[in-house]
């Protein structure tokens, strides 16, 4: 097994443990954060704050590099323009997130915990992503 696969596996695992410890993998906690008008649980603001604080410092280490420590090319997004797709996609995602309390990472973690409801969400999410691919191919031809 090559080292890029090992590091992807371990990183995914640490990411998943972070989602579990923080409570982000629990839809009830996510919805309690999104419910500003109800009994508001501000915890997830701290999750985001801590993640970004570590990210801001850590990503500086990558600045100026074009290869990763394992020798892989550094692939950072290059788009800078704000377009309709970004904004509509973002707005739409929030609606889906607010309906079930799941975003993609936590849904996969909950699926790993054996939750049937998470499996239904993930299958539907994959169908949505597949639909996107079909629409994109149609657009290209």
């Amino acid at each position: 097994m090559n080292r890029h696969l090992v590091s992807a596996l371990i990183t995914g695992l640490v990411f998943g443990l972070g989602l579990l410890i923080s409570g982000l993998a629990n839809p009830a906690k996510v919805l309690a954060f999104l419910d500003l008008a109800g009994a508001w649980d501000p915890s997830l603001a701290l999750v985001m704050g801590a993640a970004v604080a570590v990210g801001l410092v850590g990503y500086r280490l990558a600045r100026g590099r074009n290869r990763s420590w394992l020798g892989a090319p550094l692939r950072l997004p290059t788009a800078t323009h704000l377009d309709k797709r970004l904004i509509l996609g973002g707005l739409g995602f929030g609606v889906g997130w607010g309906l079930a309390g799941f975003c993609p990472g936590p849904a996969l973690v909950a699926l790993g915990a054996g939750e049937l409801k998470a499996m239904v969400f993930v299958v539907a999410m994959l169908a949505g992503m597949g639909l996107f691919e079909i629409l994109e191919q149609r657009r290209a031809t």
Binding site: L36, M48, L70, T80, I87, G89, V95, P104
Partner: protein
């Protein structure tokens, strides 16, 4: 607005958040990639040679996390209130929207903001706004 102080878990939130940030940074420094879950999963549906293994490995890590967790700790609390039709609708919307918007909470909310990307900041403001609005409509206007 009333804060539910009994539900507030600042320490685990900060610790978990730091771990998420650490994983995101490690993924960039080791694999040279953005740890955006919707992009990693979505790329599997556009398979290209040599571009599948690392995606599957990362997803496998996410799926294994609860199993590793239960080796040391009690089963994590996961309460999924949404019914099945709602989960299907929400899943479809999340799947298609995150691909159109090029990211989700991880890719835009954590990685993108850490890179100070204006696109990610705008996307994050968009999904936070509709996330708050959706829960408000469902819980307080429709009252379900």
């Amino acid at each position: 607005m009333t804060v539910d102080w009994n539900a507030f878990t600042p320490l685990s939130a900060l610790a978990g958040g730091a771990l998420i940030g650490l994983a995101a940074v490690a993924f960039l420094l080791l694999n040279g990639r953005i740890a955006g879950i919707s992009g990693i999963v979505g790329g599997l549906l556009r398979p290209q040679a040599g571009d599948i293994g690392w995606r599957l490995a990362f997803v496998a890590g996410l799926l294994l996390a609860p199993m590793i967790w239960t080796l040391a700790l009690a089963a994590p609390e996961l309460t999924i209130a949404a019914n099945y039709p709602m989960l299907v609708i929400a899943g479809l919307i999340v799947g298609i929207s995150t691909r159109y918007g090029s990211g989700c909470t991880s890719g835009h909310g954590v990685c993108g903001i850490s890179r100070l990307s204006p696109r990610s900041l705008v996307a994050t403001l968009c999904f936070m706004a509709t996330g708050f609005a959706t829960v408000y409509v469902v819980r307080h206007l429709l009252g379900s």
